[in-house]
């Protein structure tokens, strides 16, 4: 079977649709006027903490991280 017609440039470069659309959305959020810009960026923040495990036990968890994108 023939391959699909022209893939978008981002998929050809190895990016998935979710990454692409989240990237576009972030770029739009960063171009907003002030109160809306900080509300939008705050809304999208994700708080998580990571702990690495060794020999079946978690080592001390790292500080709470908070990021977007």
């Amino acid at each position: 079977m023939a391959s699909n017609a022209a893939v978008p440039f981002w998929r050809a470069a190895g990016m998935t649709y979710i990454t692409y659309s989240n990237l576009c959305a972030n770029l739009v959020r960063q171009c907003l006027k002030e109160p809306h810009r900080s509300e939008a960026l705050n809304r999208e923040k994700v708080h998580f903490s990571i702990s690495k495990w060794a020999e079946g036990k978690p080592k001390k968890p790292s500080r709470f991280l908070c990021s977007f994108l």
Partner: protein
């Protein structure tokens, strides 16, 4: 939920037409047109047991396409965190599809369109409301309901022109100095989005 001629066109893979207002599963019709053959065969070989319900018995039937074109289009614009427009009756919407600006009027053929970053304009009488969408999809159903899903939708007056110009210059510069495929793709996306923002502000 009466059986009507359009129901014979119902295919099992029509999940795209499922509506949110599902009735309780006990209210649904016990058999659909497609299952009657299975149910007849069942009754012939196992007459004492009730035939089991098949997956299509649990699906709400596709809403009927009205025989006359409605006068208004019902639009739903939803974002992950908010529904901006919910069942709003309008005259026309113009969506920024990847294949170009697409106008949707009541009675439009059922369509699924992928959207690119651009302007959505909603026309109601003499008023036009514009939103800049960062991308998403538009589903137009045969009964003149348009569902537009996007990740970000902002009114044009909330966009800061200085930030747009700065971003455009920055990504153009990144595009010329990019080396790997991924860097080029990200810079190209930056240029596309900022150019679309620019066009929305000036156009």
């Amino acid at each position: 939920m009466l059986r009507q001629a359009p129901q014979f066109l119902l295919s099992r893979a029509s999940a795209a037409a499922m509506r949110w207002s599902r009735p309780f599963s006990t209210d649904l019709p016990a058999e659909t047109a497609g299952d009657s053959k299975f149910i007849d065969e069942w009754k012939k070989s196992i007459p004492n047991m009730d035939p089991p319900k098949t997956p299509s018995a649990y699906m709400a039937p596709r809403p009927p396409t009205p025989s006359t074109i409605p006068s208004k289009l019902t639009v739903n614009l939803v974002l992950p965190y908010n529904s901006v427009l919910s069942a709003k009756e309008v005259d026309m919407v113009i969506v920024p599809a990847t294949t170009g600006q697409m106008g949707v009027l009541p009675g439009h053929v059922a369509t699924i369109a992928e959207l690119k970053p651009g302007l959505l304009s909603v026309h109601e009488g003499n008023d036009t409301t514009k939103y800049f969408l960062s991308g998403g999809f538009a589903f137009v159903h045969a009964n003149s309901v348009a569902d537009i899903i996007a990740i970000e939708a902002t009114p044009v007056d909330q966009i800061d022109p200085n930030l747009v110009q700065k971003g455009l210059a920055e990504f153009q510069q990144k595009l010329s100095s990019a080396s790997t495929d991924i860097e080029k793709a990200e810079a190209q996306i930056g240029v596309d989005v900022h150019s679309a923002l620019n066009a929305a502000l000036t156009g």
